[in-house]
């Protein structure tokens, strides 16, 4: 891997989340400085900040984009107990010339009584829907029935998880065989043995979300959770960031064997567990094909995990800060900071950057 030019983020405090839009041409960053910035990628690959505004009255924990089918829409959540939906307004022509765009607040979701720790849009086939989770242990699912009027959102479901929630992940599968599903992780520190990952599934009959599974083996605080994109598999893959990186498969047990109209039962297996971060793992996230998982941990590194065609998981790359300050002026061109173990003399050998295939 190599590092391309850096972007001066210009936040006045820690950045807590960065999110790319669906096509990778826009980016949103949010920070403890209570603001969100939106960046656009120009034709030649440069990133320019096209909007920066104060969004909350507390640290902004997460920011996320809706699917472009719904237009240019962002959601942010914050320590100030709210989650907000923003929409970009196409500006006046002078604004466009200056390369600036405007984002307006469409709605503020104020139902939570504590810090809102995560906000995620549901898969697009479910319409314009989002879920939030809070330290008060409640997951709330909102829907905007009219896509052209983003100021109307209704609270459709309130799921009480009984544990302080830190993260949520929607199952992206749009297959008819799978009901909508959401995984919730908790970072509750109390010494209960309650499992810290719960999976809720939507029941067509009761029209409610009900708990389908808990991952009994995850008993340490969970900091992040992520369903992998479904590659036409019949089962689901879920990554969990806890005191290590864990990857689970959830295979639906055939419905005939369970009570009719009830929830799906799953056979849960752990397919990988990595403690290379040596301590807490804070984030996990899948690439767009769900073939590589990235994790970041207390050891200050970002690690990449990949399965070979025989389904063995291995670390295929590490990103680590080298601590030295960046030399002041803007970086010209690309610089290769990659060290590979197979990187020997190039005269009669080949450039190495080890890749895990087998």
């Amino acid at each position: 891997m190599f590092v391309a030019r850096p972007i001066a983020a210009d936040h006045r405090d820690l950045i807590h989340d960065v999110s790319f839009d669906f096509h990778g041409r826009r980016m949103a960053t949010c920070s403890s400085d209570q603001s969100v910035k939106v960046w656009d990628k120009s034709e030649n690959g440069d990133w320019r900040c096209t909007a920066s505004w104060k969004t909350h009255s507390g640290s902004v924990w997460r920011v996320t984009w809706a699917h472009p089918e719904f237009g240019q829409v962002l959601a942010s959540c914050s320590f100030d107990r709210t989650a907000v939906v923003w929409e970009e307004i196409v500006g006046e022509s002078n604004d466009k010339l200056r390369g600036q765009s405007h984002w307006v607040k469409r709605t503020t979701l104020v139902d939570s009584r504590t810090s809102v720790t995560d906000v995620k849009f549901a898969p697009k086939h479910m319409g314009l829907m989002l879920a939030t989770c809070s330290a008060d242990g409640v997951v709330r699912i909102y829907e905007a029935p009219d896509v052209m009027n983003l100021s109307q959102w209704s609270l459709q479901h309130e799921i009480s998880c009984k544990l302080s929630c830190s993260c949520i992940s929607w199952n992206p599968s749009s297959s008819r065989a799978h009901s909508p599903m959401i995984a919730v992780g908790s970072d509750d520190n109390s010494p209960n043995i309650l499992a810290k990952v719960q999976i809720y599934e939507y029941n067509e009959n009761t029209r409610k979300y009900a708990k389908a599974e808990t991952l009994m083996t995850v008993t340490d605080p969970v900091h992040d959770i992520a369903f992998a994109p479904n590659l036409g598999r019949s089962f689901h893959i879920l990554a969990v960031a806890t005191k290590d990186v864990r990857i689970f498969t959830l295979k639906p047990v055939r419905k005939e064997l369970t009570s009719s109209g009830g929830l799906t039962k799953f056979e849960i297996q752990i397919v990988a567990q990595f403690d290379n971060h040596n301590s807490q793992v804070w984030r996990v996230s899948w690439n767009i094909t769900g073939t590589v998982l990235a994790s970041s941990g207390d050891d200050g590194c970002v690690r990449l995990w990949k399965a070979n065609y025989m389904d063995n998981w291995k670390c295929t790359g590490i990103l680590k800060g080298n601590g030295s300050p960046v030399n002041g002026s803007s970086q010209q061109g690309v610089f290769n900071a990659s060290l590979g173990s197979a990187n020997t003399s190039l005269q009669n050998s080949l450039n190495g950057s080890a890749k895990h295939t087998f």
């Binding site: 891997m1 590092v3 030019r5 850096p6 972007i7 001066a8 210009d10 405090d13 820690l14 950045i15 960065v18 999110s19 096509h23 990778g24 980016m27 960053t29 403890s32 640290s59 924990w61 472009p68 089918e69 237009g71 196409v90 807490q280 804070w282 767009i288 094909t289 073939t291 990235a294 207390d298 050891d299 200050g300 590194c301 970002v302 065609y309 295929t316 790359g317 590490i318 990103l319 680590k320 800060g321 080298n322 601590g323 030295s324 960046v326 900071a337 990659s338 060290l339 590979g340 197979a342 020997t344 003399s345 009669n348 080949l350 450039n351 190495g352 950057s353 080890a354 890749k355 295939t357």
Partner: protein, 650 residues
Amino acid sequence: MEELDVEPPLTLIPGVDSKSKQMCFAWAPGEMLVYETLFPKECAEKRPGCPNIFIVRKDKDVYSQTLRKLFSESHGIFVGLQRSEEELGGKSRKAQLVRVSKNYRSVIRACMEEMHQLAISTRDPELQCQHSTQVCILSAMELIWNLCEILFVEVAPAGHLLLHLLDWVRLHVCDVDSMVCEVLSSENPSKHKDFWNAVDIFVLQGRMDDARHLLSKEASANPTSMGMCKILDDLMKKMPILSIGNTQTLTEMELKWQHWHEECQRYLQDGTFSSNLHMESICKILLGDENAILEKKELMTTWYHFLVTRLVYSHPTVKPVELRFYAQSSLDLFLGGESSSEPLDSILMAAFEFEIHQVIKECSIALSNWWFVAHLTDLLDHCKLLQSHNLYFGSNMREFLLLEYASGLFSHHSLWQLGVDYFDHCPEYGKVYLELHIERIPLNTEQKALKVLRICEQRQMHEQVRSICKIMAMKAVRNNRLGSALSWSIRAKDAAFATLISDRFLKDYCERGSFSDLDLIDNLGPSMLLSDRLTFLGKYREFHRLYGEKRFSEAAKLLLMLMTAHIAPCSFWMTLLTDALPLLEQKEVIFSAEQTYELMRCLEDLTAGKTDNQKLQVDDVETTKVEILRLALARNLARAIVKEGTLEGS
């Protein structure tokens, strides 16, 4: 087969302090982004930290122009191979596959040549280094591919095997020609310092004619050694070589070779060449003396050259299965325990051992992009070498590598189109990978969107078509380009959105009194039926057209039908009735009595439908309008009755 446990590569991010802070990341379709942060959130105090966010990418190669050519040309070969006739059996199929392999190699060589030109023509030292590196890598790739072609595709049998290997060595190892040129162009070739080196290398490469030619120079320059030269020349001439097309059997060849070998032996033992060290050494080489050959290490430069030379002079009828032993011992003897083998060496060794899987595995690890292994594996799969009885995960591996390679192409703004064809030929996951990737292609321009759509439509990817059209429609609506939005909605078959946009058009008309995007609305055709509102929009515009063309009775009929058939939304009836006014006021009676009754009924329905509350709020304009309408309708009714009641001619 053991698992190769390689340490994952480490990439350093400058300015990020991994000791006291953490790093977080975000995935983008083609790249990744990292930034410094601090977990857990409670510790978030104001601390100066790294102000930058970094974009991290995997494949730098995809962005080089010369390599792009490699990708697109090899794409053509790949697609041709997938579509090639499988019914061709046996020899013709093999010949076809060999041709494909040679095509791939010529593409690599062309790329190498171009890179080389770039390297020597640039002034920038860093660029030059980059280009030179690329040339090395490409050269190694061609070397490996060539060997694989000989062993796996051509499947050369004993006898021919050595000939192919000789060609391979001559083509790839050490540049003889420049040295020879220098020698020959000098005043006294045989006195040139490199003269005997040149002769040696020709002998080592089995180029007897060239060696003899040089030797003759020595003979003519140095009469005293003429005798020895003649004998040596004779030996070289008589060396039995199996040429392709030669009908002698291996046994015949071996017999001849044995005789020749004994003759050389006799001359050596008789001390014929004892007065000339060079010629004696050559004779020893002809006899396959390992030590004598090894002395010429510097000339051969590589162990695989040594291997081939050894075989030429000790075992010319080597069988493929015997290669591995000679290869291993050659490597050991050549390196002599001084240096350790390098990645290239293990790859070639694996090939000599016919461990195809090992070759692919090692190449995957050593090379920084998937191009090579993906195409080579695919070719070998077509040679039926990766079938289940050879490797139970064989075709899985082919697909895995192709998927990886094609996925990489999608991060490039134009190469992604090549990727589509690769996915097409991955039976198990190709479709779903294509769906996932093609959705993410940024639709910067309408042309690009149309290109992507065409690809999706060709493959019946209906959901992707719908989604792309919806995204474009949404973008158009936001920018107030209603015509564009409407055509995208129609293409997406999105009735709800079409209704929404039609409403916007109608609203615009009410406000401004004219339509925008007339061309589009006039030519809706059958797509008008997508939504009721859209149908109304189309028909309403048609009404205006008819009116403009003075086809009043047709216009009148249409107008009425729009209300009576409930195509028009109730909210629009007032506007329609107002539109009827000019028709009612014409000199000629246009609406018949019956039609007038209908119109009246519509008006009454409209006003009756309002509640008392609404009636109170209705402003003066509305009331006046209704009054005028009632009057006009009444007058028209009267005229119509009279007209219809009058007999013709009376």
